[in-house]
Symmetry: C3
């Protein structure tokens, strides 16, 4: 039978795992509200200083402009992520009415790294309702640092039938990193 | 090194925080199914007796009718919230096919109060599919009482580009209350 | 005042409840990515060997074909669930661009069984955006076995105004099983 010491140690270890999961839920739930509020500081600080956000086809970073429709693109640092949020494309999007809704993520933690998988759905206000403008598979690679969990790399892929978008979901569920 | 007593106390405190988070997830996940089932008792009892639900522009409480499209409105007690659910506008909505889907909330607990932030997406059945009729930012102010967590005030703001809807997201992420 | 033994036992029991909830969240979050990746093994193994998936009106199992639009249908075993995922209807769906997004579930655990309630939203890629093709109420009956929680029966009902779809939400919130 387990000693009190062993039972305490087991509880501490299991509770740490629970808190890791909830921490990643919380950060995932923060992304949409921060980006739709146009809060580039809060958005960018979800990432590590050198974190990457590859948002795939349909948007691209352009100097001083944030994003342009039609080409693949991404950001390679906190500063570039903040630029995207502050850029004219994103500002135009939220000023016209937008919601970036991330779904409940599947989360696999291994030590100080984690992989989570969810959907991101971007609704835009149109006429008297909203349109699902982009629905993507979203893969997060997390690392634990002195300030808790941060995104090292996030990839979105438009679920337009592409094999890559489907493969990204399988990669995430397996706890693996994409190329 | 921490004593067994200290370790137990730390575990108890941390587990309480985890359970608060999960309690608020559970209540958030109950709202949609209860309101789409037309269960006015279950919906209204998510709030405190004098709880408020300000659902913003686009719907308004009218005596004996629940909600009318086109004007701002809300409910200022459990009884008024139940009236909204039992009213002809809401009954018409769910009888024609509706889903009120709340996203995974961002939750900040401070003692016996909490603030959560999420999106609410109202889908209506139209033709051979569904239309996102309303997508709102949703801010919950919770209080802990003898029956657990209850909503003291909930605000929805249509994400149609209004500065107020965007600000509500930032207010919630900061754990603050709106005016 | 509680003894250390009593406090340890209370913590262990409460943490088990937390982990049950998170386990069911995790399995719920796995369904969409697995089915949209076309991974029939991962999807089907969310169920017990003899588990049932009744997806309701609008899709039906047909031998060698998976699903056909227009009639009610379902699968009565892991093998039949895998057939649905591997079938031509589902393959066509994901090859054209699809996302099966499940919402944060309401979860009630009682011993080794559990009931969860959520929405399932099927988006299809159309034109330059996505359309919410199906929005359903989704009821899960879970059982705990040697490999953890598995779905014994899942029912979806299209939220097109039908009383049955609304009743399914109420049934789930009450922790009950449908007929």
């Amino acid at each position: 039978m387990a000693s009190m010491e062993q039972r305490l140690a087991a509880l501490e270890s299991e509770l740490r795992a629970v808190r890791d999961r909830l921490d990643i839920y919380q950060l995932t739930a923060a992304y949409g509200p921060a980006v739709d509020a146009g809060d580039s500081k809060t958005v960018s600080e979800l990432w590590t200083v050198d974190g990457e956000y590859d948002w795939g086809r349909g948007k691209a970073a352009a100097p001083g402009q944030g994003m342009v429709q039609g080409t693949a693109g991404g950001a390679k640092s906190r500063a570039e992520i903040a630029d995207m949020v502050d850029g004219s494309f994103h500002r135009g999007l939220i000023n016209a009415g937008a919601a970036h809704i991330l779904s409940l993520p599947h989360v696999l933690v291994q030590g100080d790294t984690a992989v989570s998988t969810c959907y991101s759905c971007l609704f835009r206000h149109e006429g008297d309702g909203f349109r699902a403008f982009r629905v993507t598979s979203s893969h997060f690679h997390w690392v634990r640092g002195p300030d808790g969990w941060k995104v090292k790399r996030r990839l979105n892929r438009l679920l337009d039938g592409s094999a890559e978008a489907r493969a990204l979901l399988a990669t995430g569920l397996a706890g693996k990193l994409p190329d």
